[in-house]
């Protein structure tokens, strides 16, 4: 493996693409959007080509060079199957979000820049193994996402954006403090995660540091009671913002939990994992029940995200092979299905001006393509066999049975509730009658593109799970920390 910069390019291309998009408006109509797609497409090509390179055992690609040596900061980028899968998600959703916001005419330069910067920062999160650089990207993600909600959102968008930012920035402080602690207490100042992982950290300190890390991850995930920012942020965000929030930002929280606690604080993680399981169990029921009570379609999907990400949390904290694999699969699957639902609801909202379930209906007669698309992603939301979501949740439940049957049955109950909210949403939107949808324009070609892409991904990984599971193998093996719950 030579000294190449493909992983760096995955971060820098979207970043500089964003700067170019900022000023691209003067080059021609829609230039900023094409610049954005070009940058993301190029990054996607680089990413895919790197999959074919011969990796170095555990890592598909690894890059390491100095950034600010006097601060002990290095750039350590490493990609395994988990990061690779999430990077595909990130770049693909980036393109989707550019396409769905094609018609937004307010400040398109900054809009596309913010989309690209969100992607760039989360790519940095998925790749960095220098903890300070990780924390840097972690915090950086908030800024463009904040802009997305605050400038192009709906309703009381500034309040929602501020809530999002403050919740996550405050939670990020714990991560920062823990990272600084790790940097300052070694033999020399270093944030190299691989080096930190070899240290013998006393158990009590591990627990404290892990709490700092986990605080940031759990807020981003989010798991109740730390989820208060999510429903507002999702609801007020523009469609592209919701897509990136649900598809990317939530995944960074899950990724962080998947990657770092078992690696850096194995004993501390073993101590705290039962609490994580309990939180996840609570969240999966709580999110699902609240989803059943929503009348705003976007809010409903937001709460289902809480439920699904709580299941991911249980999978990670379960620490056995099946539950971890399930968590990994569910992360990818949920990224596709949740963003597709946000896309559909956004498109519906653009046409009818409402997201209220009581006012919607009749898509089946009036807009069959809409109805079909909804059908696919409803089945994903209730984890119908054949979708990748089913695979993920089934694996988590299988794993849970190895850990503790109470948690396994709670997950099952949450699945049952998910059938309730998904069929309710489906019934309200697709069947019935509504004056609002009588003259509804069906999905256009530009909207069908992303939908088909997301549907294919959802079904493909559901039908041919080996591809995804094979890729996740390495990361799962590394995260195995069996816990025994009494």
């Amino acid at each position: 493996m030579g000294y190449d910069m493909e992983l760096t390019a995955l971060i820098l291309l979207p970043f500089f693409g964003g700067i170019a998009a900022l000023f691209a408006g003067r080059w021609g109509r829609d230039a900023e959007r094409w610049v954005a797609i070009l940058a993301l497409g190029l990054a996607l090509l680089i990413l895919i080509s790197s999959f074919f390179s011969t990796g170095d055992g555990r890592w598909i690609a690894l890059e390491r060079y100095d950034w600010a040596p006097s601060l002990g900061v290095q750039v350590i980028l490493a990609m395994d199957g988990l990061s690779g899968a999430l990077l595909v998600v990130s770049l693909a959703l980036g393109i989707v979000s550019v396409v769905v916001s094609w018609k937004i005419t307010e400040y398109p330069g900054l809009l596309n820049a913010a989309l690209l910067w969100t992607v760039a920062a989360s790519n940095g999160v998925f790749l960095s193994f220098d903890l300070l650089v990780f924390a840097f990207f972690w915090e950086l993600m908030l800024v463009p996402a904040f802009l997305l909600i605050s400038v192009w959102g709906h309703g009381d968008r500034e309040a929602a954006a501020l809530k999002f930012l403050v919740f996550n920035a405050v939670a990020g402080l714990g991560l920062l403090a823990a990272v600084f602690y790790l940097g300052a207490t070694g033999d020399r100042v270093t944030f190299d995660a691989f080096e930190v992982a070899e240290r013998q950290i006393p158990h009590g300190v591990q627990v404290l540091l892990l709490l700092g890390f986990a605080g940031a991850f759990l807020v981003k995930l989010p798991v109740p009671p730390l989820h208060a920012w999510l429903p507002d942020a999702h609801t007020q965000a523009p469609t592209a913002g919701s897509i990136l929030l649900a598809g990317l930002l939530l995944k960074t929280g899950a990724y962080g939990l998947f990657r770092f606690p078992p690696m850096l604080f194995p004993e501390g993680f073993a101590t705290l994992a039962p609490f994580g399981l309990a939180l996840g169990a609570f969240g999966s029921i709580y999110g699902a029940l609240l989803a059943c009570g929503q009348t705003d379609a976007k809010r409903l999907v937001a709460y289902t995200s809480v439920a699904h990400m709580s299941i991911v949390l249980m999978g990670i904290c379960g620490g056995v092979y099946f539950s971890l694999m399930g968590a990994g699969v569910e992360m990818v699957a949920h990224a596709f299905s949740a963003s597709a639902l946000f896309l559909l609801i956004g498109a519906l909202y653009d046409r009818t001006g409402t997201r209220d379930l009581r006012e919607l209906g009749g898509l089946q007669q009036n807009a069959p393509r809409f109805a079909a698309a909804f059908a696919v992603f409803f089945s994903a939301a209730l984890a119908m066999p054949g979708t990748a979501n089913f695979l993920g949740e089934a694996l988590v439940i299988t794993g849970m049975f190895q850990v503790n049957w109470i948690f396994a049955s709670i997950t099952l109950i949450s699945l049952v509730v998910s059938v309730v909210y998904a069929t309710r949403l489906f019934k309200r939107v697709v069947f019935g009658k509504s004056r609002r949808t009588e003259a509804l324009e069906d999905l256009t070609l530009r909207e069908m593109g992303p939908i088909v892409l997301l549907a294919v991904a959802t079904l493909l990984f559901g039908m041919l799970p080996q591809m995804l599971m094979g890729a996740l193998e390495g990361a799962v093996e590394a995260a195995l920390t069996p816990v025994t719950v009494p």
Binding site: F137, V166, A169, G174, F180, A184
Partner: protein, 447 residues
């Protein structure tokens, strides 16, 4: 004896101040140009000799630390000059700013009680005059408060120096180390005197008034340039080995400032007043790190104040641009009506909040690491709490800057303002990507 080149910046500033003062009544424009040229020349003179060998005299040190801090002070002075508005009948602004800068450079090199006092008072007196320049009620109030409190602080400082002299028989700062009741009392009084200039709780009362009442440029100088000088004085005194009460007091004042400054800033709707209270909190972070006494604290303090200065300058420049009364609602859609001002203010506030990609993120890194290194868990907790509060109140303002507005009114920008905003934003972002550029400078300066 310091060589002649070492005195060039001081001479330039002094002569420039006199020339600017003479030119002020007839040719206020020329006076401003003289001040600008003197500051640029002094900065260049300092920058060229940044790495020259150190030499000490009785009064002034000509070492890397003094030169780096002097450079920072001159540049911050230049930045303040850029948005110093001609105010009413008085035209002495540029000359006074030069005098204050001169005081700052003297203080940065001060290694003797006399030069310490001289530097501090030169800044204070010049700033009092600068504060009252507009000659209206709020300005007079700010100046009056600063004068009265400053006089009390000066008396305290002098008393501290006198006691230190009584205890050690010397007025050289390096000889003040030791133990004893007398020296402890001296250290406490010294600290109180410096804490006033550094706006630490409980000596911070002048700050919010200065930020709202005085001209923005004067407040910026008080918040950025003069604090760089005071940080150097604190670092030098820290290394002397004063009695325990010094470090303890510094940590206590720092902790109180972080807490109260941030809490007070939380509820401010006026941009300038928020910046004023938050500057108390930022001073608190620095004082806490120095007080905790980690080996890396001086470098952290130096980095932090130099990274803080451009953000404060940019923010206060925008506050001046929009008028002293700027409230949070007036920022609505600023980035669309005045893109440069809006973007600069947003970057500055993000930096003050300590988010990437900005200098403030690494400033936070430096301070937190110093506190962790010193095992100062209580102070670390306060700093974390402060940052959490800061994230909220800064970003409240940022949120409005980006609000969509129908048909924003475009307004032109003065070229000096524009240049300052562009440079300050550039520096803030650059340090957010390459913090080592500045940190290495600070570390070599500290030796």
């Amino acid at each position: 004896m310091p060589s002649f080149p070492a005195l060039v910046p001081v001479i330039l500033l002094g002569v420039g101040a006199v020339a600017a003062m003479l030119a002020a009544p007839r040719l206020p424009g020329l006076s401003r140009w003289i001040a600008g040229t003197a500051l640029v020349c002094a900065s260049v003179a300092l920058a060229l000799r940044l790495g020259a060998p150190a030499s000490l005299s009785e009064l002034l040190a000509d070492d890397r630390l003094a030169r780096l801090a002097g450079l920072g002070i001159c540049l911050a002075g230049l930045g303040s000059l850029a948005f110093l508005r001609p105010a009413g009948p008085s035209k002495e602004g540029p000359a006074l700013l030069l005098l204050a800068t001169l005081g700052g450079t003297v203080l940065a090199g001060a290694i003797h009680a006399a030069s310490l006092f001289l530097g501090l008072e030169l800044i204070t007196l010049a700033l009092v005059a600068l504060f009252v320049l507009p000659l209206d009620r709020p300005a007079l109030e700010a100046g009056y408060k600063f004068l009265i409190l400053g006089a009390a602080a000066a008396a305290t400082l002098l008393m501290g120096l006198a006691l230190a002299h009584a205890a050690t028989g010397s007025l050289a700062l390096a000889a003040l180390g030791g133990e004893g009741v007398l020296l402890a009392l001296a250290a406490a009084l010294l600290l109180a005197g410096l804490a006033f200039k550094f706006a630490l709780v409980p000596f911070h009362m002048w700050t919010p008034d200065a930020f709202t009442g005085a001209p923005g440029a004067a407040a910026a100088f008080a918040g950025a340039a003069s604090k760089i000088a005071v940080v150097v004085a604190l670092i030098r005194l820290d290394a002397v080995g004063l009695p325990e009460v010094w470090a303890l007091g510094l940590a206590a004042f720092g902790g109180a400032s972080m807490l109260l400054g941030n809490i007070a800033a939380l509820r401010q709707d006026s941009l300038a007043r928020m910046l004023g209270y938050s500057s108390v909190a930022h001073a608190g972070y620095i004082a806490a790190a120095l007080g905790a006494g980690a080996a890396s604290a001086p470098a952290a303090a130096g980095f932090y104040i130099l990274a803080y200065a451009p953000a404060l300058l940019a923010a206060l420049c925008v506050a001046t641009l929009l008028g002293r009364e700027t409230r949070i609602g007036d920022l609505r859609g600023l980035v669309w009506s005045r893109p440069l001002a809006g973007a600069a203010l947003a970057v500055a506030l993000v930096s003050l909040a300590g988010l990437p990609v900005s200098a403030g993120f690494f400033g936070k890194y430096a301070i937190f690491s110093a506190l962790i290194e010193a095992r100062a868990w209580l102070l670390l907790g306060l700093a974390l709490l402060g940052s959490a509060l800061g994230a909220y109140y800064y970003l409240r303002f940022v949120a409005l800057i980006f609000r969509r507005v129908e048909a924003p009114a475009h307004a032109p920008l003065r070229w000096t303002d524009g240049l300052l905003l562009a440079l300050a934003t550039g520096v803030t972002l650059l340090l957010g990507v390459r913090p080592d550029l500045l940190l290495d400078l600070v570390r070599t300066a500290l030796g």
